[in-house]
Symmetry: C2
Subunit: 210 residues, 2 copies
DNA sequence: TAATAAATACCCTGTAGACGGTATTTTTAC
DNA sequence: GTAAAAATACCGTCTACAGGGTATTTATTA
């Protein structure tokens, strides 16, 4: 007898959830046990609902898919997570992988990819669409000599740079030395492979870091 | 016998045009003689259509309301122009006034304002909604010591600064001296009342200059 | 045609920040 | 408990650019 896997869906657009339901209803072996348009809300429900697989959007208003993934993996490590996204930004994909996802699929690809992902993940494997893999390869190549992931502190400082604060001001606000801010700035520019503030901000905007 | 004024509408959203039609149909003394969702297209039609009043959107893809206004005023000086906009950015309003509009109304205000504007403008007067007047007053106060309108060249340079080009590069691309770029940059910062590139770009983004 | 605005150009000064190091403490992870 | 990652900190150099002038040529407009 086949084991039916239970799925929980989180996406801030109800329409997307409905679409996923339609697709999943056509395949055997999976059962949707819950849904939510809000990540924090989903966390609450998951405490009282048994789910094997969590399908979650990446960009959501209250809480990003990355944060949700981290929290779910912490509280319910047995739940496998598949990320759904409109974009294949390698920075985001990398963070999601780091957060513990088992799969990442693009919303604009066909239902076949979703089905394959569900099957793979449900039997313990990972699934990343061809586009994603390609992106990751590129990104890896570009950053093979650089650990390019920005730290929380660095992102915090990027946000302040964007507010047009100088090193002195940032130092005062964070209660750290101006030297430290300089170091952070230096590391940020190196990691993002940019040379000036303007280039950095473009980089940040493109990757939706700020 | 009342003279019926003919109106031409330009807005890239057909929905807005339809809404305006509904409102204008309820009032006497006005007749819609044409419409277009494209500014260049509208210019063509106006050559063969008699219109007294042009209702135009401010932000449109191919050609902005400002450009359209300038061209219409040049080719058909008798046509009175009323600008429609979602925003009351004083910079934009000022440019529209400079271009030769007779009225400026916000899209989110009631139909009463539109009717009043049409009546005022059709008998040779101007009409600017209370919000607009307020904005202009503020702006005037802020810039009374500064001629703050940016020139075309200056905006061109802002766009290049945004692309993260240095003074040297900009100079080369525009075939002018680096000194000239420095002067422009200086004037831009003075006019926009900003100190750094980042501040300038924030200013530009807020006012939708770039 | 006279006046005004815009675009062009040069010079000098001071400083913020980009870029090169090195190094210690704290936090996280295994 | 130890290794790795992140955050902290300092130093020197050098350049791009902000900010202060002044001035000429080229539209534009009255």
């Amino acid at each position: 007898m086949e084991v039916v896997k239970s799925i929980f869906i989180v996406d801030d657009h109800q329409m997307v959830i409905d679409g996923l339901r339609l697709i999943i209803d056509t395949i055997n072996g999976f059962d949707i046990v819950g849904e939510s348009t809000s990540a924090p809300h989903a966390l609450d429900i998951l405490a009282t609902t048994h789910a094997d697989i969590l399908l979650t959007d990446v960009s959501m208003p209250e809480m990003s898919g990355i944060e949700l993934t981290r929290l779910v993996k912490k509280k319910f490590p047995h739940i496998k997570i598949i990320a759904l996204s409109m974009f294949s930004e390698s920075q985001v994909v990398a963070e999601m992988i780091d957060a513990g996802i088992s799969g990442y699929i693009l919303k604009n690809t066909g239902k076949q990819e979703l089905i394959e992902a569900l099957n793979k993940v449900s039997c313990g494997q990972n699934y990343f669409g061809p586009d994603i893999t390609l992106q990751l390869m590129k990104s890896f190549k570009r950053n093979q000599d650089e650990t390019s992931r920005l730290t929380d502190r660095e992102i915090e400082i990027i946000r302040m740079i964007e507010q047009d604060f100088g090193n002195k001001q940032i130092a005062d606000m964070l209660f750290i030395s101006e030297r430290t801010v300089e170091t952070h700035r230096k590391n940020i520019l190196r990691k993002t492979n940019t040379q000036t503030v303007v280039g950095l901000l473009k980089y940040a905007y493109e990757r939706k870091i700020i």
